[in-house]
Every structure is written in structure tokens, then in C-alpha cells.
Symmetry: C2
Subunit: 431 residues, 2 copies
């Protein structure tokens, strides 16, 4: 008996594309038993045919012409792994309109135009799946949309960028400064030649937008997410944080509060006892809180050829099962609410504050007086002997305060003669 | 416009049943937007109508007669939360044969008769889902069957019993002995009046059978799983383990090796650096290794009213989506292989061994000579000054060795005059 075959096209044969090609090859023998038919990569769109030829068994499936794929009615699934907004967006929309199912790992595009893509899929009754767009190989989108659907989710947060987690781990474990840790990350292939999207928090911000949209059933786009990177964090900050019982991690946080959604990415202190504090190196982890499940965490490889391919192929297999059960589009866009997104100024946080003050009597009193004026209370304080500029270094962790008020207090503080330098302010994660 | 309603029946109104009732109530308003229709609990099977009446808004939905449910064609989904083999098995089989979908949290039954239940569901083209049967609220069955379907999974292991994890945590963090920690667990409601199924590892064994079946696509039943509980572990064992860089956890382990499946539950030493070593109190966590995803971990509440209800309601919502997309039975039994299950004697492990030996020259040489005869090599060793019986206490961690060989070595050792007592042998988790 001839095995049933479903044809797919791959757009892009970079790291993840190559991974998907490999994983599908490895799964070839078991596919029919597992999902009822074989998936065959019938065409691969590449820029450089010659370079790509070395990566595949049969170079005749390579093409540099999108028309070859979009006009081929035998191709039912398009796997978009080009990344970036264009031409990926055009390809995906054309594929969806042509009745093809699409799997994408394109966080830039989904964080910006997720609604448009999901609407297009819905209009054509086809699937648009993107498990690989957040936290690589870690199953998170499907758990949120299905396993945890019985929850009112109030928080989804975590470490969703492996490059910065590797850098912060090196800074913490080996006392390296940011620049040296970044250089090491680049050398080892954890950071790209242009690391901006990672170290400035943009990549994490895109993932937060997608996670918030899925978890809270309300569209949050990249532009809604407040973003700060890790470039200003120093080994000294990390040492003080440790002394105060915390690690520093680049966290993506999305909260579903009564007065709107909070969505931000920034370096944060997190108590060493929190499971996320122990997530090191390039690992990712996403923490979820819901009214029924309480706390759940999903941990694993957030990037890489095969882990990301694992998520992509999981989506492809799901589509194959849908095609066979004739129920494509079974779960589409799940954003049925329109929740407002709060301004960062209106969020409440605790803050780590490191500053240099004149080393004389009454300076602390002056500081706490300014704090009191703006409802900032001190939860922890460390004062050290004179530092190089003849001043004392004071490190404070505040109680919870409205960000806008804290900023005003800091501004007023920085204008006081007794305060020589505000070296750092870092938010502290916690209830 | 009238909202579409799908009717469900609840079997059992104990802890989880009450949780499911509450979660469905809480979700009532959003259901239609979220999954396209309302789910209504139309009947609840209970033993004691009077006692149950206090737990529901409308006591008229209560019944103590299964016939009321099975003969009601308007009920499309049966949620079995009675537990145990009978009458749960009869109810489920009758419901499936009558074309009703079934959600169950019944690990005892699924670990024993999973194939029969899934086959019955398959024959009727209905869904039989059981996310709540393993690790409570933590999404793990659906991630294994769908998100990670592109992997050849070689290992699934973890902490899948909250009661014993709570006990071991207290023994580790507060130096309590087993009996005291168990008494505390009972007092706090973490252990049942009869704690046998938890402390003897039976509950964990059932979950390992289910996890192995789903992860390796080959049926593993409860009787295939080798089981040891934690009743013999002492605070001293835990102290020595710490000294050797390890925690002691009750681990459920399933491995897919070239010569068969390994499936066992036993207390094990695990390096303190392993993410599972930091999973404390009553939390559960499941670790998965696949050829594409590499390592992934799923962490959360493994039991409890609402966390378990979260998993049950996730399954119910999935069935509702299937009913509306007309694709019930879309993913049924995924055991398409028949892999052999290895005997425990044929597994390879490292071992922690604590023994009392005569405190004289040559005794260690005698011990290592016996070890050498059975290919046991020593990886770590600690020798302490005289203990109470005038002997020296020696603690050894071995290199990897076949369990059968290790046992023979221990037997021979225990017959030597110089060995006064073999106090403990505990397996060590690791590659």
C-alpha cells in the first residue's frame, strides 16, 4: 500500500531551516505510524542555490523563486524561516490566502502583525502556528492555548533570551564585566555579529508581546512593550544583588492586572530562591501563574538549530493531523478581549538603587526625606566605606512604589549636593 | 442569540471534582468567547447526595445512579474523578461505547488498562484525555504527544509525587527523620491517612508507566515498573549525599535505550546542580530529553484541588473544540511500537553505599577487591572515625555498573567478616 504524503515547502535554509530539514529526515521512518502519513519537503526557497546545494540530498528541490512555491497546488504547508518583516510577511499572507497552512518562527513579524496573519489564516480556514517563535524548543504556546485554557492567567514572565542569559551568567559566576562576557558569547556563537537585538532586549520584547497576547487573550504588540537591555549592568551590581539575596536576570514580564496589561523587558533582581534564578547559561524558562494551576514553569533550550526545529516540526505534525481529521483552523486567534496596556510609569515595582553620596552625617536622612516625599520606603540598605571619589557608596532596595514617583524621587535626589552620582537603578521582581 | 451549550457529567465530587466544578463556574462567562460554546455540568454522580448538596448551587443535578448519566444522550462528555479501578473502569468503558468523550485523572486505571480505554475510544471515534493523571496541573501529556512529536525521546524522568518530595525536602532542609517528616506531611494534609501509595512509590510508578507509554510510543504498564519507596532513607543518608554534592529525591525514570525501555521509581542521589535538585516541597517536575529539543523541564503543582482541575478543564475544552470542529478522536493512542521493558538487574547505575566495616588496616583493600571481581569501581569515598559499634563508617559512590553485578558484589561483601553492616544502598542518577 502506498503511503500518504503531504508536501511542504521550506522558506529559508539557515540554522533553523537546516534543523527542520534534518529533523524531518530523522523522523521519516516513523512518521506514518506517528501521524498517519509522511511529510515531504518538496521545495526549499533559498537565496543562494549553490551554497544551499551542499546542505540537501537532492538539490533539485531548491529554488530561488517564490512563484515556484506559491503556484504549486500540491504544497499544503509552508514553513517560513526567513525571519524579518519583509518579504516574509508577503509570502505568509500569499500562502494563507492560497489555502496553504503556515508554520513560522518569525517573532519580529508575529509580535508586530500577529493579528493580520491570524485573521488571514482564519479567513482561509487554514492553520497558522508559531510555537517556535517564543522560547525555541520549549513548548509554551500550545500549553497556554490548550492545557491551561481553563485558567484566568495573571502573569507570564521569564528568561526568553539565551544570549543575554549566557552573558549575565558569566558576569555572575565568573565576575566578568559586560563587555568581556559579550565578547565570549560572540566567540562561542551565542551572540550574533550584531548583538543589538539581544542585548538591548528587543528580541525578548517581541516574545513578551506574543506571550502576553496568547496568555491574556488580548493583543499586545511589540510597540506596547517597554524595553531596557542589559548593557549598563556591571559586575558590581551583580555582586551587590547577591549580597542582598538576589540574582540579576533579563526578564520579560507580562501581567494581567485589573487596570490593564503590564508588558516589559528589563534587567531585574530576582530572589535567589526563585526557580528562575537558577536558570543559567543560554537556557530559557517561562513562568506562568493562573488562578487554577497556580505556578508552572517551562524550561529548556530557547534557541539553536535542533531545539527550534523541534518546535517547528511539532507544529507541522499538528497541521498534518488537522489535515487528516479535516479540522484545520481548529484553534485560531485567541485574542477575544481588548485590554489596555499600562504605561511603565504606572506600574508598581521595587527598585535596587546604587548611589555615591557625601560621607558625612545627615546625608542618609536627606535621602530618606526625599524618598518619603514620593512614598518610597526603604526595604534593605547597605552602606560601604569610602569609594574612590571620597564618597560613600549606598545601595538601597525599596519597597513597592509607583515607577513615576520613584523616577521623580531619583531626579530630585540627583539634584541634591550631597548626592554625587546615581550609579544604577534596577527593578526588583516580586509580588 | 442563544449560546451553544455542551453538557458534561462529573463522576465524583471529592477534591478534584469540586475543583473542576469551581473552575468551570469561574470560566463560565468567558467560555463562549474562548472555545465557541458553554460547557454545563448537567449531572454529578456522588455516593452521598446529602453531603454533596452543600458543594453545589443546584442540588438537582446530583445523582447516585450511573444509569441517569449513561442513558442521557444529551451528555456528551463524562469527567471521571472517582479514582481506583472499579467501578471507574466500567463507567468509562460504557461511556466511550455510548459515544461519549471521557476525561479522566485516574492514574491507577490508565497505568493498568490505558490500552483498553484508548482502544475503546478509538473504536467509537471519541476522545479519551488524561492530562491530569500525571503531574497534576503541569502540562505534560499534550506537550509530549504534540509539541515534542518531532523528537525521538530517549528519557522522561522527574519528581512526580508531591507527598514524598515534601517529606524529603523537610528531611534535607531541617534534618528531620522520615517518620517525623511523614507525621508533619500528614498534619499539613500533604499525606493521606494511609500514605502507602505515596511513600512506597506506587503513585509515582503509575505516572512513570503513563509517561513512558506516551513518550516512547510503546505501552508500559504499572507492572513493568520497578518500584522502591523512601521509607528507608534516613537524615544521615541525606547528609552524606549533600557532602558528596547531591540531593536525594524520589525519581521516576523512564529511558528508551537500544536494548529496551527502563522504567523505575526509587530514591536517587542527583547532583545539586541539576534543576530537579532544586524542586522542593510538594512541587513536581518532569524532565524530558529528546534528540531535537535536547533538555526540557516542566515544573509546577503535581496535585491539589485547583491545579489538577486546571488540567481536567484543559482537556474538557480541547474536547469541546474537537466537537465543534468535528474531529473527535483526532489524537488517540500513540503507542505504535512494542518495545521490551528491561529487568532492573540489567540496568546500569551508579550507587551510593553506606556500610560499617572493622576499623583496621586492609579492610578497604578487601572491599575494593570484591568490587573489582564484579566490575564495580569506586568514584568517591568518605571514611569517618569510629561509629557507635566500634567500626568505621565508609560511604562510597561507585562508577556505573550493571545492577545485577552490583547486587552480587554487595551480597559477597555482606558475608565478609570485616563488614559489619551494609546500612544503605541508593542509586545515583546520572548519565
Amino acid at each position: 500500500m502506498e503511503e500518504k504524503v503531504i508536501k511542504a515547502a521550506l522558506l529559508g535554509l539557515g540554522t533553523v531551516g537546516t534543523g527542520v530539514y534534518k529533523v524531518l529526515k530523522k523522523q521519516e521512518e516513523e512518521m506514518t505510524a506517528k501521524i498517519g502519513c509522511k511529510v515531504k519537503i518538496a521545495k526549499i526557497l533559498v537565496r543562494n542555490l549553490e551554497k544551499a546545494a551542499a546542505k540537501v540530498e537532492d538539490a533539485s528541490i531548491l529554488t530561488n523563486c517564490w512563484e515556484d512555491i506559491i503556484t504549486d497546488p500540491s504544497i499544503e504547508i509552508v514553513i517560513e524561516l526567513i525571519g524579518g518583516i519583509n518579504p516574509a510577511k508577503r509570502y505568509i499572507l500569499e500562502a494563507l490566502k492560497a489555502g496553504k497552512h503556515v508554520v513560522s518562527a518569525n517573532k519580529d513579524l508575529i509580535a508586530a502583525d500577529g493579528k493580520e496573519l491570524l485573521d488571514a489564516a482564519g479567513a482561509s480556514h487554514v492553520d497558522f502556528l508559531f510555537e517556535a517563535a517564543v522560547a525555541g524548543g520549549i513548548p509554551i504556546i500550545r500549553p497556554l492555548k490548550q492545557c491551561l485554557a481553563g485558567n484566568h492567567l495573571t502573569e507570564v514572565m521569564g528568561i526568553v533570551n539565551g544570549t543575554t542569559n549566557f552573558i549575565l551568567t558569566k558576569m555572575s559566576q565568573e565576575g566578568m564585566e559586560f563587555a568581556d562576557a559579550l565578547a565570549l558569547a560572540t566567540e562561542l556563537g551565542y551572540a550574533e555579529a550584531d548583538p543589538t537585538a539581544d542585548i538591548d532586549g528587543l528580541d525578548a520584547g517581541r516574545k513578551v508581546a506574543i506571550l502576553a497576547s496568547v496568555a491574556f487573550n488580548s493583543r499586545v504588540v511589540f510597540d506596547d512593550v517597554y524595553i531596557e537591555g542589559i548593557t549598563k549592568i556591571s559586575a558590581k551590581d551583580i555582586r551587590y544583588a547577591k549580597e542582598m539575596g538576589c540574582a540579576i536576570k533579563l526578564l520579560g514580564v507580562a501581567r494581567n492586572t485589573e487596570d490593564g496589561v503590564e508588558a516589559y523587558v528589563c534587567p531585574m533582581l530576582i530572589p535567589s530562591s526563585h526557580p528562575l534564578a537558577a536558570v543559567n547559561d543560554s537556557y530559557n524558562a517561562v513562568f506562568v501563574h493562573g488562578d487554577a494551576v497556580e505556578d508552572a514553569m517551562f524550561f529548556g533550550r530557547g534557541a539553536g538549530e535542533l531545539p527550534t526545529a523541534s518546535a517547528v516540526v511539532g507544529d507541522v505534525f499538528d497541521i498534518v493531523r488537522n489535515i487528516q481529521a479535516d479540522c484545520c483552523g481548529r484553534i485560531g486567534c485567541t485574542c477575544y478581549k481588548e485590554l489596555p496596556v499600562k504605561r511603565m510609569e504606572d506600574t508598581y515595582n521595587r527598585y535596587f538603587l546604587r548611589l555615591h553620596v557625601e560621607d558625612r552625617c545627615g546625608v542618609l536622612a536627606e535621602m530618606t526625606e526625599v524618598f518619603a516625599k514620593y512614598r518610597v520606603s526603604v526595604a534593605q540598605i547597605i552602606q560601604r566605606d569610602k569609594v574612590d571619589d571620597g564618597c560613600a557608596e549606598v545601595v538601597v532596595i525599596t519597597a513597592k512604589v509607583r515607577e513615576g514617583d520613584f523616577k521623580t524621587a531619583i531626579e530630585e535626589l540627583s539634584n541634591r549636593a550631597s548626592v554625587k552620582k546615581i550609579s544604577r537603578t534596577i527593578r526588583v521582581y516580586g509580588k
